[in-house]
Structures are given as structure tokens and as C-alpha cells.
Symmetry: C2
Subunit: 146 residues, 2 copies
DNA sequence: TTGATTGCAAATGCTTTGCAGCCGC
DNA sequence: GCGGCTGCAAAGCATTTGCAATCAA
């Protein structure tokens, strides 16, 4: 899901109208490719789209399954990203704030593990790892430094 | 960390004063043993402790490392729990809202896995699983029902 | 045309903050 | 007594909502 055409189809298929604000928000979200604040997004979209519409549009995208929101720090505003078919998790650096979108089989393995033992039916796994990214680890980045 | 005596020591050791609001919040948090809203907590604490003080106290407890906050749904207020020495994760049921505090080695294994390959220094792992708990899985709880 | 969608402005809800008085040490 | 802590009230900030006008179908 990358082009505005694909957005148009998704909207129509679900019975929603294709509008300029929706296209604009969609494009802006694609351009940044993730972890962006509603305010930052609104800035990119431009002043002729109201902040409230950006919020409404993002909520709609979430309902449609094409965007997702998450919060990496309790005291930060929510951040949005186009939803990604791959299961992934986030590595958040406490120093530089960088968010690494990490794709791998880890989430799938967690899911598999949970499906076994417990009576709990897993629908969504959210994994966030806080720490220090390679560049912020005190200069040295040698992989086998203790 | 369970008694008010232990709270007192923790506060003093860090140079903070032992006060009635702090003891009250601490006790209330222990009693519920987790995943409680600030408002619910304030209710238990009583009207003679101001809501603002409850917020301030919880933030202090967080700083001291004896309480932690998390949000299971983007649109819910934050929830607090006494911080737990064991690494654990949360199973949140979308039907009944029940939050299961799940202790196990899964988080440790995730941590170990991350420590290997990547240059990222892991400090905190947050894992939240949304889905349906055993009792909400459509009545039937047989493990091999389709 | 017609009703979904928008912009605007006001409201909401959670959380924080300024400040004068109070209380732990 | 001093300075940290509290209650109170007001502010802050992200997000939502009511409503009349607008625009996609």
C-alpha cells in the first residue's frame, strides 16, 4: 500500500469517500515513513487541512488497517506510521530518540510461543525495546566490546 | 517492597520526606496490586489527598523505581502498578478488559536474543499482548476447538 | 441532489504547574 | 525554623466533538 490510487481503492471498498484531506494525509504519512507526530504530520500536510481533520483521518486509516499508532514514552504524544504487513517491533534510543523499525521473526516467535501454552487467543503483539542505539553507545561501536 | 516501612526507607535513602499522602498512595497501590487508573487510586486514597498529589506521588515513585506506568490502549488513561522485580508482560483481553500480569522467562529470552546480534544496548523491554482471554473465547475453552 | 466530510471553534479529559500555607525533619 | 510538600485552582496539551457549510458521488 503505497500510492494514492491504492488509498482510493481502499476507501471506496469500505464505502468511504475519496477526499483531498485524506489523500494529503496519506501522502505525507508515506513520505516520512513512520513514527511521526500528528502535529508534525499536519505541518507537512499544510495549513489548508485542519488539525482536527488530520486526527479524524488518522483514526479512519487505523480503522481501515492502513495506519497504526503507538507511544514510545508515556509523556509523549502518539506517533503514527503506515501499517506494515510485516510483524515488527521498535527499538527506541533514549539518547537520540531514534526509532528503529525492526523487521524480523521475533514477534512471530513470541506469538507462536504464546499460542502453545496459554488459553489466551493472541490477536496483537506489541513489543517495544528502550535502550541505546549503536551510535549512542559511548563512541565505541565494536560488536565484541564488553 | 510491600510494607510502608520499606517505603519509608526508600524515601529517606533518596532524600525525600515521609508524608501521609505518600504512604496512603503507596498502600492503596499495594492493595489493588496493579493496573489501576490514577482516578481509581485517588478514590481509594480518599478525598483528603488531592488528585494532583496522587499524580506527583506516582511520578516520584516512578523515579524511585518502585512504581511503573503503562497504557494498554492508546485512548485510555495511564495505569499504574507497583514495580515488580520479575520481568513480565501483560495479556490484555479486549472483551472483558482483564489484564493478566504474566511472569515468565519470555522477556528474558527476548532480551538475550537482542543482546546477541544488534549493536543496540537493551535497557527495557515492553511486551503487551492483546487478544481474548480464556473465559471470553466464546464459551468453549477446549484447546483444540477450531 | 444528498449526505458524508470538512473547517472552525469550543469542549473534553488527563496531567502538570504556580503559589501560599503547612508540616516533616 | 527551614525548606520540602501539599491543597487548591488554574493552566497545558493532545485529542475529540458539535455544527453549519462544502464537496464527492
Amino acid at each position: 500500500m503505497r500510492t494514492t490510487n491504492e488509498l482510493d481503492e481502499t476507501l471506496k471498498a469500505a464505502g468511504y469517500r475519496v477526499t483531498r484531506p485524506r489523500r494529503r494525509v496519506w501522502t505525507a504519512l508515506q513520505e516520512t515513513n513512520g513514527h511521526i507526530t500528528v502535529e508534525e504530520l499536519a505541518e507537512r500536510v499544510g495549513d489548508d487541512v485542519d488539525l482536527a481533520s488530520v486526527y479524524r483521518t488518522l483514526r479512519l486509516f487505523e480503522t481501515l488497517g492502513i495506519a497504526r499508532t503507538s507511544r514510545f514514552d508515556e509523556r509523549d504524544p502518539g506517533r503514527w506510521e503506515p501499517s506494515h504487513p510485516d510483524e515488527h517491533f521498535h527499538l527506541v534510543c533514549r539518547e537520540c530518540g531514534e526509532v528503529d523499525h525492526h523487521v524480523g521473526d521475533l514477534v512471530a516467535r513470541i506469538r507462536a510461543h504464546l499460542d502453545e501454552g496459554h488459553g489466551f487467543l493472541v490477536e496483537d503483539v506489541t513489543l517495544t525495546v528502550h535502550g541505546l542505539c549503536a551510535s549512542c553507545r559511548g563512541g565505541t561501536t565494536e560488536p565484541n566490546a564488553d
